[in-house]
């Protein structure tokens, strides 16, 4: 079996084992594709000093990793639980100084990933000037547009993550992954050194063979390993597959509001014998 499926890992734990302590890890927002089962495996293996990049913002994945002590820094346009309010572990970690914060804005993250995708060191971007974000980001630069007079413009550095981690509806044995219109996942995969993916199901056929869906497929060129994880984004949702489990998200937000509540939640979550499929 393994000879025919060289990129298919046995388990989410096997994917988590490929993410080293200290890695720069790109993650998707809650509305996109969250590999929550691997997040749990990362916490189970007690990952440390991760540098999270939100593409472009972060939600439950980041809050769990931060609360579990796995995170050294966060670069994102925002971190929140959406309708369920603030991300409590993130908020506490910012206030205590437990994590280093690289506050950003959505298009800077996208441009940084696009620079990495092109293999160039930076990209220019309109807007943003006058924001305090610029003052607090010494790695951003304002220059004069060399093609015009008196036209200041922001330059932002390439964001090259060690690993892009995400969840998608379908993959195939070769490691091709169908993401449909969720093309921020394509951008993440192009920009990162390696990509690890969980999928709802493994397709029998080659996903690139069908022209009707090929444009929504990340080719195996970018994918290092994938694992089967039905309901792998739970309790957040996956477009076309299942909606977010609002009751479960509300239960998390309520529990995590206090450190002791978060600790109890985490113990219970890690102890779940089976992934709630």
């Amino acid at each position: 079996m393994v000879e025919h499926l060289p990129k298919v890992a046995d388990s989410c734990a096997a994917l988590a084992a490929r993410i080293e302590d200290g890695a720069r890890l790109a993650l998707a927002p809650d509305y996109s594709g969250c590999a929550m089962a691997v997040i749990r495996a990362l916490i189970q293996r007690d990952a440390r000093d991760l540098h999270l990049v939100g593409v472009p913002q972060l939600g439950l994945q980041a809050d769990l990793l931060i609360g579990a002590g796995c995170v050294a820094s966060v670069e994102a346009a925002a971190v929140s639980l959406g309708e369920q309010g603030a991300a409590p572990c993130f908020t506490r970690a910012v206030q205590s100084g437990a994590i280093m914060l690289k506050d950003s804005t959505c298009p800077v993250i996208h441009a940084g990933l696009q620079a990495a995708e092109k293999g160039v060191p930076f990209l220019p971007l309109r807007g943003i000037l006058g924001s305090d974000l610029v003052r607090h980001r010494p790695d951003w630069r304002v220059i004069d547009n060399p093609f015009a007079e008196h036209d200041p413009i922001l330059l932002v550095p390439a964001i090259r993550a060690d690993v892009a981690l995400f969840h998608a509806a379908r993959g195939d044995a070769a490691g091709n992954v169908w993401i449909g219109v969720r093309r921020e996942l394509m951008l993440m995969a192009h920009a990162a050194t390696s990509s690890l993916v969980t999928v709802e199901r493994l397709a029998e056929q080659d996903l690139l063979a069908d022209d009707q869906i090929a444009a929504g497929v990340i080719p195996d060129l970018y994918i290092d390993a994938l694992a089967l994880a039905p309901k792998g984004a739970w309790p957040v949702g996956l477009r076309g597959a299942y909606p977010a489990d609002q009751a479960a998200l509300a239960a998390y937000a309520a529990a995590a509001a206090k450190p002791a509540g978060f600790a109890r939640y985490l113990t219970d979550w890690l102890a779940l014998p089976d992934w709630p499929a």
């Binding site: 913002q57 206030q95 298009p107 309109r126 219109v181 093309r183």
Partner: protein, 252 residues
Amino acid sequence: MTGDARTELLISCLADRLAGCRHVAVGAASPIPAAAALLARMSSEGRLRVSILGSERHNVFTDGSKELFDCAAQGRIDAFFLGGGQIDGQANLNLVGVGGYPRSPVRWPGSFGSAYLYHLVPRVILFRLEHSPRVLVERVDFISAAGTSPAHHHRPGGPEGLITGKAAFRFDRALGRFTLTHRHPGVALADIVAATGFAFELAAELATTPVPSAATLAMIRGPVAADLVQIYPRFATEILTRPSAPRPDGLT
């Protein structure tokens, strides 16, 4: 004015600000602006395109989450709604936190796309339900997005005005100041002055925000609410099921 009546007034008031637009985009966690955009689209007989982040139906983007920003930079989006934990008299927005940075004692999620869209979308409508001195401050603690820019900066966009739960202001980009133009029904000028932490100009004639017509209310409670259920189920249901409120004719 009950909470629901005020919500409907604000939806109608925000929708009026979209007159003449071809394309309005609405960010996440913005139920009242989303309702306003859908109401404006119905009134425009389909001429207004509405892109709502988080919606599968009202979102044609196929190039991932960056496409909205690329569209904005090209001038393909005419209007957007922004808010903030703090908004100051120069229309600076703070979505980051209060009381020092980075270890802000009050910390919010972050700036999202505000720093960018505020500069590039021609008609940015500021909306914040809470009208109080802690929100409308003289000077924000952190500038997520700057209200004004030096004249030589490339800035096709910026704030058009501010609508709150009490009033509506117009923003003068050259002067960098707000002018109070409307108070909502039942709100006294003194109440607005007391609740506003920044100094502002007063319009020559202070108007009262017009209450929505029966036809507008029927659209909000009917097709707009039905359309919103997929994105904001709780909000839409609260508008849909109003047993205590009088209903316009023809609605059950």
